[in-house]
């Protein structure tokens, strides 16, 4: 077991505290880092946190078909969810459709999935994107799959809570519709993050380093959590156990 946490492990360490005290977190498809974070948070909570993993046979409670996740969110039964994006901008808009002037796209992403809906209905949506670069974190997305904020008078019970990347953690200030740098991962600085980020954000003069996992949490992650995640993401689970520096086993969508 390496002592150097992987980028994925640091992201997991950043996500786990964001789930403290919640009742139910759901994790969508192609989300290995959120899945591991949610299962670790459940263990830390002693089972008080309910975790629903789409695509899992063992940790997926849904029995009413593809619509149930969305209905469940609209019923207010899901406290937290995760979204990624090919592009994420400084207003927390998410682009899952493509680069270019739609429908004339230069590059096609898979599509919006349920983002346009869930972003409005789940109180704490945590954005995640391992690649932290001006290419992924942009001033303005080319296509708004899901809007970060809504005007007054629009029914909205949810929205962006934070953005976790392979280099830093931002909190989203919904009232001011902008990101604030909350912490930088080990080895990064406010300056390296500014350079790597395509949107403007707020930052205090002194930004803390993202706390690593405590040793017991780390052991849980590399043990039983990796086992459970392996049901859906075998390659990712192997990397968690190995603790290699790169945790990029699956597309961060």
């Amino acid at each position: 077991m390496s002592d150097q946490p992987s980028r994925a492990e640091v992201m997991i360490a950043a996500i786990v505290p964001m789930l403290a005290g919640l009742g139910h977190v759901a994790v969508g498809a192609a989300s290995p880092i959120p899945a591991a974070a949610a299962l670790l948070a459940r263990t830390v909570s002693g089972g008080a946190l309910r975790v629903s993993l789409l695509g899992s046979a063992e940790n997926n409670p849904f029995t009413d078909g593809g619509r149930e996740l969305f209905d469940c969110a609209a019923q207010g039964r899901i406290d937290a969810f995760f979204l990624s994006g090919g592009q994420i901008d400084g207003s927390a808009n998410v682009n899952l459709v493509g680069i270019g002037d739609y429908p004339n796209l230069k590059a096609r992403f898979p599509g919006s999935f349920g983002s346009a809906y869930l972003y409005h209905l789940i109180p704490r949506v945590i954005l995640f994107r391992e690649e932290h670069s001006p290419r992924t974190l942009v001033d303005r997305v080319d296509f708004v799959s899901a809007a970060g904020t809504s005007p007054d008078g629009v029914y909205r019970c949810g929205g962006p809570h934070a953005l976790v990347t392979g280099r830093a953690v931002f909190r989203f200030d919904q009232a001011r519709a902008l990101f604030e740098l909350a912490s930088v991962h080990d080895g990064e600085t406010r300056e390296t993050i500014t350079e790597a980020t395509g949107f403007a954000f707020e930052a205090a003069a002194s930004v803390p380093v993202t706390p690593p996992l405590a040793p017991d949490a780390r052991a849980l992650l590399r043990g039983p959590v990796a086992d459970a995640v392996g049901e859906i993401y075998p390659a990712f689970a192997a990397l968690l156990v190995g603790g290699t520096p790169s945790g990029r086993s699956a597309p961060a969508r």
Partner: protein, 282 residues
């Protein structure tokens, strides 16, 4: 550590008592109840009556039967919203008929698909659902919560009824079995799942708790309401007597006949109910 960590212990749930369930139903609550053939929590309804719950707004999904008549007879009900009130071959429930005549309860007559649609709207978190039919029915005249609007998808005249979401405070029903994690098996009785999805609080009594995980069994999973939607559950063997539970025990027709005969008057109902435990074998 591995044992503690992700073991199934984390998800286990123990049953409450029927009394604890009953205490979760507040005066004035909007309570969704199934019809007599779909799993009625009769033992819990007795508990509600014993507690003296008041001013309930009952939603029959889509009709009401014996349990609703009991609650009306015991003075627990202000409003009944339903497509029908029926005891099957025993006709119109007697305390309901008397209360309608005396105008001592508000009856909100509806139609089955509108009740299902209202619950589906709540299930989807939307304010209303459109529905075909109904136009020309006098139901529309008396339901100020229903509207007739122009279908916005049509270029020509196309009136259509919209019905508001029905979001019960409580859904209460009886099921055959609960698993160790609090998942409830209801088989093809999907209206119970709809009620649980739509309600803020779902209370279930069950014949038994079994030490397995229904969601791990592909056949049972398909007919299971996940514990996610179950606020609390209690064990109540023969908890659907005397209306019966499909696959477990039939309606006690003698008890029903006896009830209908006795409950023609309030005094007869009161007498019957005072001795009622004898009608429901433990």
């Amino acid at each position: 550590m591995t044992d503690l960590a992700l073991s199934t212990e984390l998800t286990r749930r123990r049953p409450s008592t029927v009394d604890a369930l009953v205490r979760k139903v507040a005066d004035g609550a909007k309570v969704a109840l199934p019809p007599d053939y779909s799993g009625c929590a009769m033992t819990a309804v007795r508990g509600l009556i014993a507690k003296g719950v008041a001013d309930l707004h009952i939603v029959g999904v889509p009709s009401g039967g014996l349990q609703v008549d009991w609650l009306i007879g015991a003075g627990c009900v202000s409003v009944v919203e339903m497509a029908a009130m029926t005891l099957g071959e025993f006709g119109v429930p007697p305390r309901f008929a008397a209360a309608q005549k005396a105008r001592s309860i508000i009856v909100r007559d509806g139609t089955c698909p509108a009740i299902h649609a209202g619950l589906q709207a709540a299930e989807k978190g939307i304010p209303f659902l459109p529905l075909r039919g109904i136009l020309g029915s006098d139901l529309l005249k008396h339901r100020d919560d229903w509207q007739v609007v122009q279908n916005p998808m049509s270029d020509t005249d196309d009136p259509i009824v919209i019905v508001p979401a029905i979001a019960p405070d409580v859904a209460l029903f009886h099921a055959a079995k609960v698993d160790r994690n609090g998942n409830v098996w209801i088989g093809v009785r999907r209206e119970l799942m709809l009620m649980a999805h739509a309600a803020k609080t779902t209370l279930v009594t069950a014949e038994e708790q079994v030490d397995t995980d229904f969601l791990a069994d592909p056949a049972l999973a398909a007919g299971t309401i996940p514990s996610l939607y179950i606020t609390d559950f209690a064990l109540a063997p023969r908890g659907a007597a005397p209306v019966g539970l499909t696959g477990a025990y039939p309606a006690d027709r003698a008890a029903l006949a006896d009830y209908v005969s006795a409950a023609q008057t309030q005094a007869g109902f009161d007498r019957w109910f005072a001795t009622a435990p004898a009608h429901a074998p433990a």
